[in-house]
């Protein structure tokens, strides 16, 4: 099953990339995500591994994931090593007016789980989609807020100068 959400953020693509690629900041905007721990020597980049969990229904679901695409500042994709099967992606594109279009996709399932798996994927879909939507909103708000603070800091610096 695939779930996705997108948003447009009033910030340059580099600022958005800096946030979505930083494992330390995942918990501050990813909705429903209860864990996002670095499990590799390198915290970011191709081959970086994280242990992640997302609360869906009565369980926290996820597992060990690995970054399989790392093209700053456009594409970030991961795939599951253990836990449920999943493939996720952040897709960033510049939008008119110095803004950035951000899209998150998550394909998930449990291979070999038959009819119950088919049902579970579909019943979980609205929850997962709503988590992704809130994540997009929270990401936009977080970056907006940071941009405002940066601009304010810059103004203060010029006034003080």
């Amino acid at each position: 099953m695939r779930a996705q959400a997108r948003t447009t953020i009033s910030a340059p693509i580099e600022a958005v990339w800096a946030t979505v690629s930083d494992p330390e900041r995942m918990l501050s905007f990813m909705s429903g995500v209860t864990r996002w721990e670095v499990e590799s020597d390198e915290p970011t980049g191709l081959g970086a591994r994280y242990r992640m969990l997302m609360r869906v229904g009565s369980a926290e679901i996820g597992g060990l994931i690995e970054i399989v695409e790392w093209e700053p500042p456009h594409e970030l994709a991961w795939t599951s090593i253990t836990g449920i099967d999943q493939r996720g992606r952040w897709r960033l594109r510049p939008a008119p007016g110095g803004r950035t279009g951000a899209e998150i996709r998550l394909a998930y399932g449990v291979a070999g789980s038959g009819l119950a798996g088919w049902m579970a994927e579909r019943i979980a879909a609205p929850v997962v989609t709503s988590h992704l939507r809130s994540s997009c909103h929270q990401l936009a708000r977080l970056i907006d807020h940071e941009q405002t603070r940066e601009r304010a800091a810059a103004r203060r610096a010029t006034q003080a100068g």
Partner: protein, 310 residues
């Protein structure tokens, strides 16, 4: 196999049996003989514990089904799994509810397996009768092993997480109005086990199971009357009102549980020797753990607005 066939295969002739019956005479003894036969049958069916029977792929493929049951039927909620140490042997000690259908086990087993991954060895001790029940053989693939001190030691020595319900059949069939009480019947074997293996105890407190049917009585006197305690290690012959049976005696065939909301809270680990000294007193530890679990259960009960609905 019928009782008579069984007797014959054990080398008794029909005449001998007839003699024995006339000697004992009463119907009671006939019933006892029949029960004894069933008991020996059940004994034979108890699988020898083999930790290798746990099958991670099998568990993984069943997770969606368990997730559907836990999420839709029980609206399960498991909190505090982060309290369980990330690796190494640990003894999870739970209060047990819900008759023989044990919804708390379904909800917790799912949550544990998704949280830590099916790769982490996780075993559950279950009553002998559960494992010898026809049709429940697949439980062994989930890591369920017959409750015995030996099996418990083997699992912990292998570095696994082990879930035990000290209250067992006694607690699981308590009446519905005692639903929010932790009752281990003074069983302290789990503390001895934790001390012997030097593993931390993580209490797992659950609520809601006793609302999946109307449990009336444990029927301890009935169990003694039929000598179930000696024959099957069963201290109880519970009576409840449950779907689809109406009056449900024994709960041997299970029942359709009401969709009660199940909430489970996992507490921080207790390292017995750190907290109670090098030679902890069993009674003191028992009282401490019971009080801790009861306090948690009281808090969970206070959160609940309505029975079943949660």
């Amino acid at each position: 196999m019928a009782v008579a066939d069984r007797a014959r295969s054990n080398g008794h002739t029909a005449q001998e049996r007839h003699q024995a019956e006339t000697e004992h005479g009463s119907q009671g003894s006939l019933l006892r003989r029949a029960l004894r036969e069933v008991a020996s049958q059940a004994q034979r069916r108890i699988p020898r514990a083999d930790l290798d029977e746990r099958d991670p792929d099998f568990i993984r493929e069943r997770l969606p089904l368990m997730w559907l049951m836990a999420s839709l039927w029980y609206r399960g909620e498991v909190r505090g799994l982060g309290n369980v140490p990330d690796s190494g042997p640990v003894l999870l000690v739970g209060n047990h509810s819900g008759g023989n259908m044990t919804p708390d086990t379904v909800v917790f087993t799912l949550a544990f397996n998704t949280y830590f991954g099916v790769e982490r060895a996780f075993y559950q001790l279950a009553h002998n009768l559960v494992l010898s029940m026809p049709g429940l053989g697949s439980l062994r693939k989930f890591g369920t092993v017959a409750a015995s001190p030996q099996n418990a030691r083997t699992a912990l020595e292998a570095g696994a997480a082990l879930l035990v319900y000290p209250g067992g059949d006694y607690e699981v069939h308590r009446s519905s109005w005692e639903g929010n009480r932790v009752d281990f019947d003074q069983r302290k074997g789990f503390i001895r086990l934790a001390l012997q293996q030097n593993v931390p105890i993580v209490p797992v407190v659950s609520i809601g199971g006793q609302e999946t049917a109307l449990f009336l009585t444990r029927g301890e006197r009935l169990a003694r009357l039929f000598a179930l305690d000696r024959l099957f290690r069963l201290k109880v012959l519970p009576i409840s009102l449950a779907l689809p049976w109406g009056v449900n005696v024994g709960d041997m065939l299970g029942h359709i549980p009401l969709p009660a909301k199940i909430t489970v809270e996992t507490l921080p680990p207790i390292h017995l020797r750190d907290e109670f000294g090098p030679e902890p007193d069993l009674d003191e530890v028992y009282d401490h753990i019971l009080r801790l679990m009861q306090d948690t259960l009281d808090a969970l009960a206070a959160e609940r607005r309505l029975p079943v609905i949660g």
